[in-house]
Amino acid sequence: MTSKQPKVWITLILILGFIAMLLGAFAYKHYKPEAKLHELDATVLTQSRTVKPFTLTDENGKPYTNQQLKGHWTFVYFGYTSCPDICPTTLAVLNQMYGKLLQTKTANPDVLFVSVDPHRDSPKHLKEYIKYFNGKFMAATGSHKQIQALTKELGIAYRIVPEKGKTEKNPGDTYLVDHSGAVLLFNPQGRLHAIFTQPDNAENMANEFLVIKKYAEK
């Protein structure tokens, strides 16, 4: 009996050890560490940036200034309505992202489309355009001088591409506009917080927004 007891103990220890190993392996496999900011696709600024005062006109003809960026997160995308491919693609992604955020308990961010083509995009025209994508989305524009006060500050570039044989001053009716494809994220203090340089995946953007927000609120 006494000679057999250590053997029983050893067996028990071995079995317990094996179970612990299995549990450890299981925990290791299923443990998901929270995404780190630097691992995101979005570029999160190490320090959010203030934006100099700017004044645009929104889709209802009312001023849209720095004040309108405050009190909520805001996604801002620059484009133009006569843009056949990338603008509707990005606005569709933002609409899908918005839908995914609606399913969470997060307060919904604002989404603002800034037209860099004021010649063709009147506020009325912009309203019809933006509400097609989402009734909650907003749009704004201004003179090129007003727009550039904001874009230069944010590192957003755009350029009118005239029709063949036309000039930038008289570009024709169907000119195109090259423009930055990025989506900018402003925090509730109205400061530039993060940049989505490749805004093509709604689910990823929604998830990353939640991570960015969580870190900012820590």
């Binding site: 843009c83 056949p84 355009y129 169907t174 090259d178 930055s180 494809g181």
Partner: protein, 149 residues
């Protein structure tokens, strides 16, 4: 004798002409166009794009050179590219679909651009789009208007 020669001549000319028109019209059996659609846009807009897939199972490359449609005055082949952080659309004179390859037109990349539509489009509406290739073959595809927002 003269009559016979004349008849033969007529037959030869007609056959040649028939072969010629056939080649000018019909797409090779091993080139398939699928999944084509026109993107729905707000009613007041006069531009849109369409996306499609061309599957070339033949043993040589084919080249898409033009598209036309009653939908718009101008229909162009374009590619959206990112250049120095800016999204730029570059008109394509031809698009190569390599042998034994599938070529996808998709949002944010290659697309068929419709400029100057003279009326609004509606979801479910069917729009014919004729695609022509370098070898002069053409195919008319009926594309539905779809919302992808």
């Amino acid at each position: 004798m003269l009559k016979k020669t004349f008849t033969i001549l007529i037959v030869v000319i007609t056959t040649l002409f028939a072969v010629q028109t056939y080649a000018a019209k019909k797409l090779a059996h091993n080139v398939k166009i699928s999944d084509g659609y026109i993107r729905m846009v707000p009613n007041h807009l006069r531009v849109t794009a369409s996306y499609l897939t061309i599957n070339n199972t033949s043993s040589h490359a084919i080249y898409l050179v033009s598209a036309t449609s009653p939908l718009a005055k101008s229909v162009q082949l374009h590619k959206t590219e990112k250049v120095n952080g800016m999204m730029r659309m570059v008109q394509q004179q031809q698009i190569e679909i390599p042998a034994h390859d599938k070529f996808q037109f998709k949002p944010g990349a290659y697309h068929v651009m419709f400029i100057g539509m003279d009326k609004p489009i509606y979801v479910g509406e069917i729009v014919p789009v004729t695609l022509c290739f370098k070898d002069t073959s053409c195919a008319t595809v009926n594309m539905p208007v779809k919302s992808d927002k």
